[in-house]
């Protein structure tokens, strides 16, 4: 065997945190080896995990900083790039004040990088720092926070195999978290019942004992009806409710009239199935409720998340082995980015910006003068884009691609072009980078070390395997250098990610015992909260009390609201968007990985055979989708796996989000990605 | 194959105690020597066609049900497995078999297994040479019985329950709902 040494890294794609060993030989990654002894994935990898190497040495990787000039992109040195960035930022702050700046951190970065970005923003004087969790699980934070105390998964993913009933609401782990699906399959092998509520027959629904194909945007009605059945047939866990929750009467009153027949009319799911689903979930000795984008990406996202939590609490299926509530996070470190406070309204450790002691604590911890931190929350991702060019003059986007991921991308593109100064730090020349004034090359996941947190709160250390290509630098180094150039060097005395983690441990109580040394020993990482060095971590949350002030979970009443844009005469179909197993979020990495792109090269739209027949469409025909916000072209996929009247398109391609809605959830500010009234138009000629 | 219909083996789950005598008898019946003393040291070891599994807290024997519209028959690319109308059994023709194991993967009960030298796959052939299959003979608690006896037995017991109910015993619906066989 050659002298290649295996370096165990964490896969850069989804939030399961699979391990893969990179074979490194004299500074280059020669190949990939399976981490057979890893307790997380036991050597398993999905298609994206295998393709992770293809972006490391991709020819399009940005190798050196480039600056926009009249004659096109001009390569510049790092000093020149950082100097212009610092100077432009200083001008903006002096001219318009610190709140004219906005920072976009990345869920693909490590905990340390997210901590540094939000610290730089707050040290400069603004809370305008956000990241793409705003577009995925923001409603989990605003929904679960006040109810259970923390907006995170309550059990480790491996716990799913201990449940007798698994209820998936708007979640498709078979496709988006393939390796974690082994626990679900193991549960089914042991006789567990699988319930799936999803408008599509997704791979998760293939093995479901009961699939509830509900109309997009009506999850709230389904959950309300299930709660109605549970209360009516006295299937709730009265002991658990009395001992551990409060506010059950308001909930009981709110679901008094939401019987299954009412829900059947709204959701299109037969009432009999709703009753069976409620009984299956409630009577199972141990049951888990798993929800994802299908629940959170709505205008009623926060209420739907609360309905899920109500259902889990009322039936006592929280806080014990095999019984848990799982908001499945999408990206590899979106949980960590939220923990680190890269959110406009939250400081590290989920301490709200409006809380005076929290601000005082951070001002003293960071050595800022008292009153330096503003009291009002900053702008969220969607608000930043709307304010760009008006109140926001400068935007620093690290590893983010809002032109593809934000709704109404045409408006996003226009507003970003109005900015005085836009810096993008990324691996490739993404659609957003093309609009930037300055593009800095970043290091990929295997070219920087740092800690990342999975969807089940396990913090894992991913060491640096090789050096970045050309002059690319890790994000944490870029942020520290920029801070020094801005004269804020004394707030950023760090030499390596390990130093940053030491500060994080002091500031965020939940990460107290998570040191770099302990992490590299822990085979499957340490699950926060881990208050001190000796604490083994808490895989299962809320075993005896909740993280609220009085330790009790708070039940919220449910009131159903229709999705904002219902299908009507001239837009008869409901378009919903989502993920596919071969691509990843904005597609910046997966559309450049040959093994993935070759298998799924086109933007497609799934159409029910009856709808296709009515529109005169055949499989692979070119078709145009038109909504009130624009139109896109796609390839028609005629399949029986969507409900009649529902269309599905993945959002990994730049065009999709040109036609999605920009209505926001009032408290979570998360856009309504999942429903949009849409019309189909046949185009001549066969699809490619 | 004489043309008479050969009855299938049926299982009375409530009687099975998991002693696996049927497995032993099946191996011996399909061993080259046909007697236990020699079968034990034959190489390759004779394979069983019946599998007793511990399913949901009680043992249950699994054997080929000779389905009339069998997945194994439908998925065989060369037609080596066929449903024989006269004997109403699924019969395996090794000369047409290419050993692609499609049937092993398709059988929903997992009772067709790869053979070791005695044919490419091995499946219950309802003891071709015998009137009463080896497993039925060997079962101490009569959990494995032939089709006719099983059905007549079941009809008789249900009739008794109806008569008891008529005389004011437990109502039939309660018994059926409670799932007692």
């Amino acid at each position: 065997m050659s002298t290649a040494i295996p370096v165990r890294t964490v896969c850069p794609y989804c939030a399961v945190g699979c391990h893969l060993d990179l074979l490194v030989e004299n500074g280059r990654v020669k190949g990939l080896e399976y981490a057979v002894d890893s307790p997380v994935n036991a050597g398993r990898l999905c298609a994206k995990g295998h393709a992770a190497l293809e972006i490391l040495y991709h020819p399009d990787r940005l190798q050196h900083p480039i600056q926009r000039s009249p004659s096109g992109w001009k390569p510049v040195s790092w000093d020149h790039a950082l100097e212009t960035a610092a100077e432009k930022i200083r001008n903006i702050v002096t001219a318009y004040g610190p709140n004219a700046l906005a920072f976009l951190s990345t869920a693909k970065g490590t905990n340390e990088e997210n901590y540094l970005v939000q610290k730089l923003a707050r040290v400069v004087g603004t809370h305008n720092v956000d990241h793409c969790a705003r577009l995925c699980h923001a409603s989990t934070l605003t929904g679960l926070g006040p109810m259970l105390g923390l907006g995170a998964a309550t059990n480790p993913l491996s716990d799913l195999s201990q449940s007798h009933c698994l209820f998936f609401v708007g979640s498709n782990p078979a496709e988006n978290h393939p390796v974690a699906f082994r626990w679900v399959q193991e549960a089914k092998d042991r006789g567990a019942r699988i319930l799936v509520a999803d408008p599509r027959r997704t791979p998760t629904a293939w093995i479901a004992d009961l699939h509830l194909p509900l109309r997009p945007g009506t999850d709230l009605a389904l959950l309300a009806a299930m709660l109605h059945v549970i209360f009516q047939e006295r299937l709730q866990d009265d002991a658990f409710i009395a001992r551990r929750t409060r506010g059950v009467e308001a909930l009981r009153a709110s679901v008094k009239h939401t019987d299954p027949t009412w829900a059947a009319r709204l959701t299109g799911v037969p009432a009999r199935d709703i009753v069976r689903a409620a009984r299956m979930y409630a009577t199972a000795p141990r049951a888990s409720l798993i929800y994802c984008m299908g629940v959170t990406q709505h205008v009623v996202g926060t209420e739907t998340v609360r309905a899920c939590a109500d259902l889990a609490l009322v039936t006592g299926h929280v806080g014990s082995l095999g019984s848990g509530l799982f908001p499945v996070r999408g990206q590899d470190n979106v949980q960590g980015a939220c923990d680190m406070g890269a959110l406009s309204g939250l400081l590290p450790g989920y301490r709200p910006v409006t809380d005076r002691e929290a601000r005082a604590f951070f001002e003293s911890a960071w050595g800022l003068p008292p009153g330096a931190l503003g009291a009002a929350p900053g702008l969220t991702v969607t608000e930043m884009e709307q304010a760009a060019g008006r109140t926001v003059r400068g935007l620093i986007a690290i590893g983010e691609n809002p032109v593809v991921t934000s709704p109404e991308s045409r408006k996003t593109r226009e507003s970003l072009q109005r900015l005085d100064f836009l810096v993008v730090v990324d691996l490739f020349m993404t659609e957003t980078a093309e609009l930037a004034h300055l593009v800095l090359p970043a290091a990929a996941w295997a070219e920087k070390s740092g800690s990342r947190t999975n969807t089940d709160r396990r913090v894992q250390w991913s060491p640096k395997a090789v050096d970045p290509p050309g002059e690319a630098r890790p994000d944490w180094k870029i942020v520290i250098d920029l801070a020094h150039r801005l004269g804020l060097g004394q707030f950023f005395p760090y030499g390596s990610p390990e130093d940053v983690l030491e500060e994080i441990r002091r500031i965020v109580p939940a990460y107290g015992g998570i040191s770099a040394g302990r992490l590299s020993q822990a085979a499957e990482g340490i699950a926060w909260p881990c208050p001190d060095e000796t604490h083994p971590g808490t895989p299962v949350l809320y075993e005896n009390h909740f993280a609220t002030e009085d330790g009790l979970a708070r039940l919220y009443p449910i009131e159903f609201r229709e999705p904002p844009e219902m299908p009507d005469a001239d837009f008869p179909y409901c378009l919903t968007t989502g993920r596919v197993s071969l691509h990843y979020n904005s597609g910046a990495m997966t559309r450049r990985s040959p093994s993935l792109f070759s298998r799924s090269p086109h933007l497609f739209v799934e159409i029910h055979p009856d709808d296709a027949a009515r529109e005169g469409l055949r499989h692979r025909d070119r078709v145009r989708l038109i909504t009130r916000r624009g139109s896109i072209e796609a390839q028609a996929h005629v399949t029986g796996s969507v409900c009649p009247g529902v269309l599905f398109a993945p959002f990994h391609f730049p065009q999709t989000n040109a036609i999605t809605q920009n209505m926001l959830d009032p408290s979570a500010k998360i856009p309504e990605f999942k429903t949009a009234a849409c019309r189909l138009e046949k185009m001549e000629g066969k699809g490619p | 194959m004489e043309g008479t219909v050969r009855e299938r083996v049926m299982v009375r789950l409530e009687r099975c105690v998991g002693c696996r005598s049927c497995e032993m008898a099946c191996r011996v019946a399909h061993s080259r020597s046909g007697i236990l003393r020699d079968a034990v040291c034959e190489e390759p070891r004779p394979l069983r066609r019946i599998f007793v599994e511990q399913a949901a807290d009680s043992p249950a024997p699994f054997l080929c049900r000779h389905c009339e519209d069998a997945p194994c028959v439908r998925c065989c690319p060369t037609g080596a497995l066929a449903f024989d109308e006269e004997s109403r059994l699924v019969v395996y023709g090794v000369e047409r078999c290419i050993g692609c194991h499609a049937c092993v993967m398709a059988c929903p009960f997992g009772v067709i297994q790869p053979g070791r030298g005695d044919g490419y796959v091995v499946k219950c052939d309802r003891c071709v040479g015998r009137e009463e299959p080896a497993c039925v003979e060997a079962c101490p608690t009569k959990a494995l019985v032939l089709e006719s006896r099983f059905l007549s037995e079941r009809r008789r017991r249900t009739a008794i329950q109806f008569v008891q109910a008529a005389r004011g015993g437990p109502r039939v619906e309660d018994m059926l709902a409670s799932g007692s066989p």
């Binding site: 027959r201 194909p213 029910h608 029986g640 | 194994c72 690319p77 060369t78 290419i98």
Partner: protein, 152 residues
């Protein structure tokens, strides 16, 4: 290859040749070529070839190639290059040409001899590779009743 003292003349029995790739693949100097155009496979081979090499004759599964020594001096009458074509057969399901008629017949005969079951063999040989995979997947799914019916 230097011009060796003896040369050989290729004589190919166009009736016997089944249109496989053996000779084209084996020829060290790649002088035998083939290409599929429309529903025909067009072969081309040199009329005369170098001295001792007998690769193509040895590899041909149906022994359709005969090599005769060819006097060196007689260089006025160069035997012409050989070109011949074989009809391709179309896949029963998708109509794409995928192999020659002779290869299909040869395969059918050999497999029927192997399995003594002409009807069994006849349902996969006339189908192209991609369609065989689709038909196998369909057969397996219909056999186990796991074909999906569209959501109502």
């Amino acid at each position: 290859m230097r011009e060796t003292p003896t040369r050989q003349r290729l004589i190919i029995d166009f009736e016997k040749c089944c249109g496989c790739f053996a000779c084209a693949a084996a020829c060290p100097e790649k002088r035998i070529a083939f290409s599929d155009q429309g529903t025909e496979r067009r072969f081309s081979a040199p009329g005369v070839c170098s001295g001792e090499c007998e690769t193509c004759r040895k590899v041909c599964p149906v022994d359709a190639i005969v090599l005769e020594p060819f006097p060196l001096e007689d260089d006025e009458c160069h035997p012409p290059a050989l070109t011949w074509t074989l009809p391709l057969v179309r896949c029963r399901r998708c109509g794409e040409p995928f192999t020659t008629e002779k290869i299909r017949r040869m395969t059918m005969e050999k497999l029927t001899m192997l399995l003594e079951a002409p009807d069994a063999v006849s349902d996969w040989v006339p189908v192209c590779l991609a369609c065989r995979r689709i038909e196998e997947a369909h057969r397996v799914r219909t056999a186990t009743r796991t074909l999906p019916d569209p959501l109502r």
